[in-house]
């Protein structure tokens, strides 16, 4: 009896392996937790430093130094001291009309509109009052209101602090000082540089509006407004950037969007604590849910129609001044394989093209790894003839399948990157020639097999069939992981990789919405716009996964079935 039991006692190695089974994931867990904690700690430290800096600033401003004294000479000198060292800041002193009341304007060359300054500020002040006497101004406190009411500029603000004035002048306002006037008047003469509206290069469509966002925020919001009259489109301003202040707006449809989503977006944007945000990519990285994930959790787009479509589904858009890329949250995985054109074309072709994209994504991810698995582990699982011809072409190849695949995959990634950075006329030529030469020459030299070249080429082309550039990169990145796991464990490794990938995806959330929706949980309504795009007349509801306030897209069922609220809370 005992002997029998003891014979079942596992070998000590098994215990060691059991320990390994425990310690490795535990260490990885500790490592990642450590990373996350570090991030939190850093956040705290930054905040402390920030408050330290902020306090003296506040004291400084409270000590009246910042206020204008009301004495023209001193205030003007003060402004000169603050701004005079800049080459592009111009100071212009003059007198009002025929009187000897002195005045001065300060403006930034280039940002402020010279024509407006000449025609509307200088002209109106100098010429208009040419017949008035000085006493007309000095009586009572009328000076300021006269000035305010007689300058033909659309926005006129009063500013009583030096810092405020400096800030405004640096963004393109013209500051007007008049002797005897306690505050400065800020005249809106902003005329920033921008470019024309062009078709977005990164998201081309055959059919659809040829309009893309530009670098100017007001142009971009105007493009959204231009989509049609809509009183529900709310565009809220928020400021970001500690040292370089930038304007940022969030846009959403008032009566569609889930208010909690808007609150969450606002909250996350407010926590951004960074000196300067050059591009919306900064925001994307700072507000995403999981920065360790290879998947992009915020969608970026240059297309106003895409943004508008997302808004109408109940999503929120974030637009930053100075970049043509708007952000859309929350993102679900199916959005990465959709193009706005899917909705403009008829449903059958768009559905087929969409299925094709899913196939392309699968090929991108798994083709090279399947090749490796079948060549190095499971020759028996593929048809005999195919196996024979594959083996025959691989005869002279001195490397194992993994190395062979890695050589080609890395080469093609380098080609892609080089083609991207090269000047436009050379880029494509270089890509094609490089690809052909390397592929052909590598086969001739016996470094890789011809089938490998086919697999690699197919993979590369498939990865470019994905409409979102960054989603394509993600898949290409993961492809290497798949290749390595296939080299280690063959088909079993690919299954494990697939399970691991799915495990990661189901855990991932984008602003509270599960990333894998609408794949799961099963919701037939949302599937109408998933792998296939059903005819528009059947898509009567907005995606439920976003929990829109008003779920009905088409009018006719509004009366009948608007009691769908009780189903909405489930996810």
């Amino acid at each position: 009896m005992w002997e029998n039991l003891i014979s079942y006692m596992p070998h000590w190695q098994v215990f060691m392996q059991g320990f390994v089974a425990f310690i490795i994931p535990f260490l990885i867990f500790k490592l990642f937790n450590g990373l996350l904690l570090e991030k939190k700690k850093n956040g705290k430290i930054e905040m402390k430093e920030y408050t330290n800096q902020q306090e003296p600033d506040q004291q400084f401003s409270q000590e009246t130094v910042d206020q204008f004294i009301g004495d023209f000479n001193k205030d003007f000198e003060r402004m000169k001291k603050e701004l005079g060292h800049n080459w592009d800041v111009h100071f212009r002193e003059f007198q009002i009309g025929a009187t000897d009341i002195r005045a001065a304007i300060i403006f930034l060359d280039g940002l402020a509109d010279t024509e407006q300054i000449n025609k509307h500020i200088l002209k109106s002040i100098m010429e208009r009052f040419s017949n008035t006497s000085a006493s007309f101004f000095t009586e009572g406190d009328k000076l300021q209101s006269i000035m305010k009411n007689n300058i033909s500029i659309r926005d006129v603000l009063e500013e009583s602090t030096v810092q405020g004035t400096v800030g405004k002048v640096l963004t393109g306002y013209t500051a007007l000082f008049v002797d005897g006037m306690p505050n400065a008047l800020m005249l809106c003469t902003i005329n920033g540089k921008t470019r024309n509206i062009e078709e977005p290069i990164s998201e081309a469509v055959v059919r659809g509006p040829r309009v893309g966002f530009t670098e100017k925020l007001s142009d971009n919001t105007a493009l959204l407004r231009q989509q049609g009259e809509n009183q529900q489109l709310s565009i809220l301003q928020m400021g970001v950037g500690k040292r370089v202040k930038k304007r940022l707006v969030i846009a959403y449809m008032d009566e569609i969007v889930d208010p909690e989503l808007v609150e969450e977006v606002k909250k996350r944007i407010q926590t951004i604590d960074l000196d300067n945000l050059l591009e919306s990519g900064y925001i994307e990285q700072l507000i995403e849910d999981n920065y360790l994930s290879p998947f992009t959790q915020v969608q970026n787009t240059e297309r106003p129609d895409r943004v508008y479509g997302a808004l109408m589904e109940g999503r929120v858009a974030i637009l930053l001044d100075g970049t043509p890329f708007a952000l859309i949250v929350p993102v679900t995985i199916n959005m990465l394989l959709q193009s706005p054109e899917d909705y403009y074309e008829r449903w059958l072709p768009s559905s087929l093209i969409r299925l094709l994209r899913y196939l392309a994504a699968g090929i991108t991810l798994f083709a090279p790894s399947l090749y490796i698995a079948f060549v190095s582990f499971h020759q028996g699982l593929i048809p005999t003839k195919l196996a024979l011809s594959m083996m025959a072409t691989r005869e002279g190849v001195p490397f194992p399948a993994l190395i062979e695949a890695l050589i080609m995959e890395v080469a093609i990634e380098i080609l892609r990157e080089a083609g991207l950075r090269l000047p436009k006329p050379i880029g494509p030529t270089m890509g094609i020639v490089g690809g052909l030469v390397i592929g052909e020459a590598a086969v001739q030299a016996g470094i890789v097999s011809p089938i490998m070249v086919i697999v690699v080429a197919l993979t590369a082309i498939s990865s470019f069939a994905i409409p979102q550039y960054n989603a394509g990169i993600t898949l290409r990145m993961l492809r290497f992981v798949a290749m390595i796991s296939a080299a280690l464990f063959g088909l079993y490794g690919i299954i494990l990789f697939f399970l691991f990938l799915c495990s990661h995806l189901v855990k991932l959330k984008s602003f509270g919405v599960p990333y894998v929706s609408p794949t799961v949980p099963y919701r037939a309504g949302d599937w109408k716009d998933f792998m296939v795009r059903m005819p528009l007349m059947t898509m009567k509801r907005r995606p439920k996964l976003l929990q829109p306030k008003d779920s009905v897209r088409k009018g006719e069922i509004r009366g009948k079935e608007n009691n769908s609220y009780d189903h909405q809370s489930k996810r």
Binding site: L381, Y492, P521
Partner: protein
Amino acid sequence: MITSPKDKITTSQTMVIIINYILATGILTLPRASVEKVKTPDVWISVFLGGIVAMIAGVIIVKLSQQYPDKTFYQYNQDIVGKWLGWLISLFVIVYFFTISAFEVRIMAEVTSLFLLEGTPTWAIILPFLWVGLYLISGGINSIGRLFEIIFPITFVIFLLVAFLSIGIFEIDNLRPVLGLGVMPMLKGIKTATLAFLGPEIMLLLVAFMYPSDKKKAVKVVLVGIAIPLLFYVITVVMVIGALSIEGVMTRTWPTIELMRSFEIPGLIFERFESFLLVIWIMQIFATFTITYYAAALGLAQLFKKSMHPFLYGLLPIIYIIAMTPKNINDLFKFGDNIGHAALFLFGALPITLLLISKLKGNKA
């Protein structure tokens, strides 16, 4: 958005979890195990009846859980039978769950090293599998539910495809005569067949995770959840026996894979389809492994009223060592039978007793 209730699963998720839990080793072993007992072609009737038995057990389990809709089994059994006895029962159930997960892992390793990875050491096959499972489970029941919903359609489509393709070598004569030797042999197979339907016991825990408005649908969920695997199993058994005949099934360790290997369809890209079957089968084993692993960890966490994470990590070496204990494949099958017998007691006899006690208690109160 953010209010989306944590740790709640939908009806379809519950159903899919049951289906994925039941579908596991049975696809590969049920034909042989049941044919060995029955020895006539009536195995498919046994399997059918086994499914019915499992359904009855499942309904009892659901009825029991519905008495305490917001608690899991680990929490409410102490209300029924008192603190210490309840604690002990919970402990048994936990041991059962992680033992079965270890069993599934080992079976997976055996089949993988036989058909896919000859020469790769068992530990190298098992360890990454355990880790991927751990990674999934650390996301909680929601992640598990969603992942199961992803792999279920894949399983469904590929399984039907593969079964349909094997129709070329199917011979109806192998299934005749129906009840040729009377009813007795068929009845002998019912117990073995029932053991393939281990899985409804997860409803002891899942009812607590369902949405309050869905809890009354739990009976329907468990019935459909068993009916679909029942369909799968009956198709498997009919196809395997139809193609390989009774004698052929008994001499093969993994008759279902042998079936897939025994036909070739030239002209398609693939001529042989056992790789497809293995792919979905490994996914199903993964599903069974993760849900039992989760159930065990959840039980420990609720028993000691701690967070789940330390138990998740602590269970890994235990599962591994149990998985490595059986010396060979026959040991492993014996081990599986013992687990099945334990399950018959734990989830056949026990729930109905508990249900009766709670009803009596409820009447008193």
